[in-house]
Symmetry: C2
Subunit: 153 residues, 2 copies
């Protein structure tokens, strides 16, 4: 083993502490993000899963199987979630003319409106970001991209 200086050891320890602090901060953000999302959904009488599906369908109609892929869950679960959204008039199932096995779920007018309002209500992440300068937001964007292994774009 090569001998190393005390300084090298001290630097490693500081690095580890710094990394750990950033990891903890990210955990805090994850926690806050979820809390706010669930609370916003609850304001409209929706569960988190229902709100997520509604948000997906507000962007574009999707076959049941595609919803399951987006949610990373089994297709059988989607049946119940869409059932509940449909019972409240926020979503509807349409046949696919090209393949009669497929049912395409789509947000209704009311569903799209609810999705919009819900999205507008999600102030966390958007509000604190407003306090950062454009340069800081760019710096944050670039660092987050690198964390996600995304190209510099």
């Amino acid at each position: 083993m090569a001998a190393r200086t005390d300084t090298a050891h001290a630097t490693e320890a500081a690095d580890a502490a710094l990394t750990r602090e950033v990891v903890d901060l990210i955990a805090s953000i994850v926690s806050r993000y979820h809390e706010e999302y669930e609370a916003a959904a609850a304001q409209y009488g929706l569960t988190g899963a229902q709100a997520r599906v509604l948000a997906l369908l507000a962007r574009e109609p999707l076959p049941m199987r595609r919803i399951a892929e987006q949610l990373k869950c089994e297709p059988s679960n989607v049946t119940g979630i869409v059932d509940r959204l449909e019972a409240r008039g926020l979503v509807e199932r349409r046949p696919d003319p090209a393949d009669r096995r497929v049912k395409v779920a789509a947000a209704t007018e009311a569903g799209a409106q609810t999705a919009d309002r819900l999205r507008s209500g999600l102030t966390f992440a958007r509000e604190p970001l407003a306090g950062l300068s454009a340069q800081e937001r760019r710096a944050l964007r670039d660092l987050l991209r690198r964390m996600l292994d995304m190209p510099a774009g």
Copy 2:
């Protein structure tokens, strides 16, 4: 309405796009974080909630009510989660000599070991961070702190 330059409008639009991109990146991180956490828990036959409670108790023993506070759920839910952890020998309930109403849940030796291994397996957030220089990690830390409205510390 005061007249404004095209440049001002263009800047606002770019700002909004930037903010939205950062928000989407954060959503991606939240999603990844959860996926990895659930997958790591599943490797040990634990649900996400069970893994979170075990992680809490590996740090320090806690009365049932304190666990509920940390999880932000009703105390009645904790009974079942701790029941399942206890049935697997990962956690045990101890009496509190100072107040005989209280039951203190604590990780067993096996539980602490599982919690350690689980924590070590959570590479997301830690691994990509290793690719950032100390200066970049400090920059990220400061930006995240500001997002969380935390003092510069």
